[in-house]
């Protein structure tokens, strides 16, 4: 297993390089212009000068190599400097000063380093989208298991109905519906998320919970709907297998049979689905963030795409790609743990 992981990790490097190039070329090819949001009152000659100042005049390969250098050399060196200087964990180490003042990846919209904004956005993304996902998974698994165990019972029927409706009705609708009910009519929760809120007392914690309640609910329902369907179908596949009959015949308790034997064998598709979803947590939930004004990474990406802020889009997309590759690897490793018969070499 260890050799498998090491080999796969090494092989991800060329994969990631190819991905970064494909993304770069795709963005290059996509129609769009960073000047799209500049008012029409600004004359074309001025816009042309602004484009030049962004470095758009340079040939594609020069810009790609520049980005590679900035992302793989400049940004990591800054990161290491920070780790050895200010971080709690490694602050005791001697200060490295790797960063030599080279230009970092600069966003065209804000003219500031992209990574700083990404770091700024992480907390709200992880709090809201991450919690939404975590709750979604936590709800989905028991519902899926019980629905399958009692197939076609009232519980299963209601669960199916709710999850299908939950998945069919998009979050731009459920989000606004919740706002109209709970913010406008009842006044329980704020409709706009305050990203500057610092949690340092019980009151501010309560405030944080209140402002997270609606977006987390919307996301949890949506995620739960999807994952519970896979859990249910996978459990159903296994509940009728011969080994279940054998286990029951051996006199194992129902609990052990269902929750240990069947569940373990049913986890492969579910693990895949869950692992596929984690990078999307970091990618943010574009619509939900937009509806509740959470302004996390999803909002950052969509804003950058609308403004054709290529360095920002490239960097964000690549970070997501990195996570996708990593979590696919994690899923593969988990397959081997769940079912030791699965071998890759």
């Amino acid at each position: 297993m260890i050799t498998f992981i090491v080999r796969r990790l090494l092989l991800t490097i060329p994969t990631l390089l190819v991905i970064s190039l494909v993304i770069f070329l795709l963005l290059e090819l996509a129609p769009g212009d960073p000047m799209a949001q500049v008012p029409l009152t600004v004359p074309p000659e001025v816009k042309e000068k602004m484009r030049e100042a962004l470095g758009l005049g340079q040939p594609v390969h020069v810009r790609y190599v520049k980005w590679l250098y900035q992302f793989f050399v400049v940004e990591p060196s800054l990161m290491i400097d920070w780790l050895t200087r200010d971080s709690f964990l490694l602050g005791w180490m001697p200060d490295t000063s790797l960063y030599n003042g080279d230009l970092r990846v600069i966003s065209w919209q804000t003219r500031s380093p992209v990574m700083d904004i990404v770091v700024q956005r992480l907390p709200q993304t992880l709090w809201v989208v991450g919690m939404g996902y975590l709750f979604g998974v936590l709800i989905a698994l028991p519902i899926g298991i019980y629905s399958a165990y009692r197939q076609y019972s009232i519980f299963d029927q209601v669960g199916t109905f709710v999850s299908m409706v939950g998945f069919s009705v998009p979050t731009f609708f459920t989000g606004v519906l919740l706002i109209v009910i709970f913010s406008v009519e009842l006044g329980w929760f704020p409709s706009i998320y305050d990203t500057t809120l610092k949690v340092n007392s019980f009151e501010s914690f309560l405030m944080q919970v209140r402002q997270m309640a609606m977006p987390v609910t919307v996301l949890a329902l949506y995620n739960a709907a999807q994952i519970s369907r896979f859990m249910r179908s996978s459990m159903l596949d296994n509940l009728n297998q011969d080994y279940v009959r054998t286990a029951r015949a051996k006199g194992l308790s129902e609990k052990v049979v269902v929750l240990i034997h069947v569940l373990r064998n049913s986890m492969i598709p579910v693990v895949t689905v869950i692992a596929l979803g984690v990078p999307q947590v970091f990618g943010g939930a574009i619509i939900t963030e937009q509806v509740f004004k959470v302004n996390g990474l999803g909002q950052l990406l969509i804003g950058a795409i609308e403004a054709n802020d290529l360095p920002m889009v490239q960097t964000l997309t690549f970070i997501f790609a990195l996570l996708i590759v990593m979590f696919n690897l994690i899923a593969d490793v988990l397959y081997g743990i769940i079912d030791p018969r699965i071998r890759y070499d």
């Binding site: 731009f172 109209v180 369907r229 596949d237 598709p269 895949t272």
Partner: protein, 298 residues
């Protein structure tokens, strides 16, 4: 089952009998057929043009002359729902079928053939990583005019949309199917089949595929809902059908602003999408049960 003992029976007849006895599947099937019938045949009975603007009849509540009411320009909602349903259902089913076929094929091949696993999964990762919006914009810039030239504007747009949704949504299915195949491959019955010299081709189609049908079915049901919503997102980018062309996703989105004043306007498309997905889900459930030999005949 009744007289199961006599002559060797047709397998598909068995499947059909099982399917028929599945209450959920039957109801799902009937509802789905009704929806399809309404949206495809309905426009011949209810002949109002869905894009006709009737200025004096703006924002009318449901009534005899407008059973579903009218929108902010006085367009008849029933006509729009039917016209929209035709597009949404066709796009939803076709795009889902494309994505599922692509995804299952890639997943089966990658899971079954060790040599193909690495390249196919890396390809999947590349597709997973591509940012959706720029990808769609590029596809439209490159293919809109050639497709419109080859198939006419409407068919061209349809092919473009289905292609765009299909090509950008097969990856999850591929990963799920591959994971299941990896586990299945090591099961005893596969080893047994292999030991009697079953060919790879037969092995995949007769032994592996039937055992990964259920996750595929789930992906398919969820895929329809996702495709209907994605289609509406495309028309916002100006990548889909012309703006006066209604689809369920678009009707739902347009109505969200009017949720408080005219709640019925959000409900129609919301119910239509949910009902379609629910009925397909039950159909899928019935089909899965019917295809499972362990359940069938019990």
């Amino acid at each position: 089952m009744t007289d199961a003992s006599s002559a060797p029976r047709n397998q598909w007849l068995d499947v059909w009998l099982q399917f028929k006895s599945h209450k959920g599947a039957l109801v799902g099937g009937i509802v789905f057929a009704l929806i399809v019938l309404t949206v495809f045949v309905g426009p011949w009975i209810w002949t109002i043009d869905p894009t006709h603007v009737e200025i004096r009849a703006r924002n009318k509540p449901p009534s005899l002359s407008y059973p579903f009411g009218t929108d902010q320009l006085g367009r008849d909602m029933l006509a729009r729902m039917m016209a929209g349903g035709r597009v949404s259902i066709s796009v939803g089913l076709t795009a889902m079928a494309l994505a599922i076929t692509l995804g299952s094929s890639v997943g089966l091949l990658a899971g079954y053939f060790k040599r193909l696993d690495w390249p196919l999964m890396r390809l999947t990762e590349v597709f997973q990583s591509l940012p959706l919006l720029p990808l769609l914009l590029v596809m439209v810039t490159l293919f809109r005019e050639p497709l419109a030239g080859a198939f006419g504007p409407e068919k061209g747009t349809f092919i473009l949309i289905v292609g765009a949704i299909g090509v950008t949504s097969w990856m999850a299915t591929a990963r799920i199917v591959r994971g299941s195949v990896l586990a299945l491959k090591e099961r005893e019955f596969v080893l047994a089949a292999r030991s009697i010299g079953t060919s790879d081709h037969k092995m995949i189609l007769r032994h592996i595929l039937p055992n990964v049908v259920s996750p595929i079915m789930v992906s398919a049901t969820l895929g329809i809902a996702a495709a209907i919503i994605t289609e509406s997102a495309l028309s916002f980018l100006g990548l889909g059908f012309p703006p006066d062309f209604p689809t369920w996703g678009r009707l739902l989105y347009d109505a969200v602003d009017y949720m408080q004043q005219y709640p019925s306007r959000v409900m129609w498309p919301g119910i239509a999408i949910s009902l379609t997905v629910l009925s397909v889900n039950y159909l899928g459930d019935g089909l899965r049960d019917a295809l499972d030999p362990r359940i069938r005949g019990r």
